[in-house]
Amino acid sequence: MSIAEAESWLDEYGNALYSFALLHLRDKHLAEDAVQETLLAALQARERYDGKASVRTWLIGILKHKIIDEFRRQSRQATTPDTEEAAWEDAEMTRVDQDFIANGHWQHALAEWGNPENSMHDTQFWAMIERCLDGLSPRAARLFVLRDIWEMETETVCSELAISASNLWTMLHRARLGMRRCLEQNGMG
């Protein structure tokens, strides 16, 4: 266990860890803290690293735990009425309402997005995804990331973030509507 090793991880994987943390936590300071906590935890767990996964994968695995810890903390905090978060969610709900006209039909025709393969290697597409994720309310974004990117089990998401299943489904619906609306407004399809 040596500090030199942690420093070499910082040099080699610092950017990758930071990019990953920033995508999920959407805040530079939180992302920096998460990278730091990850390296400290990695240093302590050094003996348990068996070399089966790459160092990068191992570090990202630790970082994911740190991100979940932060999500849990934010989720607990959000149960006390937070005006900023509440305002964000109100605006999000209004946009969902605007997706549909009064009789519950879509306001606008939806576009055909084509073959996902064509987007996979398009940097602009991924930049758009990141922007659209940033546009979700913090709570919707947390749940969306856990389900649609990490593919965490529904039950696990509910217990980790202490929300009911029906609440989760409602929030995911909003998040997915938000993502598709944002992508289409930015030229998808």
Partner: protein, 85 residues
């Protein structure tokens, strides 16, 4: 009859739970008649597939640089926690 708003909720929920038999039938009838909701269903699958693969294959997140001052603070912190001999 489901409205598109209700149908879109079920389209979303089928990613997260097994729909009941009635819900499944109601949704199938709606989708059969509604081109926008069929597109919505395809769009959500598109999103899930690309996001999952994007992270696995390293397209997402896009590379960002850990700011030098952040890096310096982390380095300093690592040294503070260095209790080795």
């Amino acid at each position: 009859m489901l409205t598109c708003k209700e149908a879109s909720q079920l389209v979303s929920e089928q990613h997260d739970r097994n729909l009941g038999r009635r819900e499944r039938i109601a949704l199938r009838i709606h989708l059969w008649m509604c081109r926008n909701c069929r597109r919505f269903e395809r769009q959500l699958s598109f999103l899930r597939n690309t996001l999952r693969r994007g992270v696995q294959e390293g397209q997402l997140p896009l590379d960002k640089t850990l700011p030098p001052d952040s890096k310096a603070r982390i380095r300093e912190h690592l040294h503070k926690h260095d209790h080795t001999d």
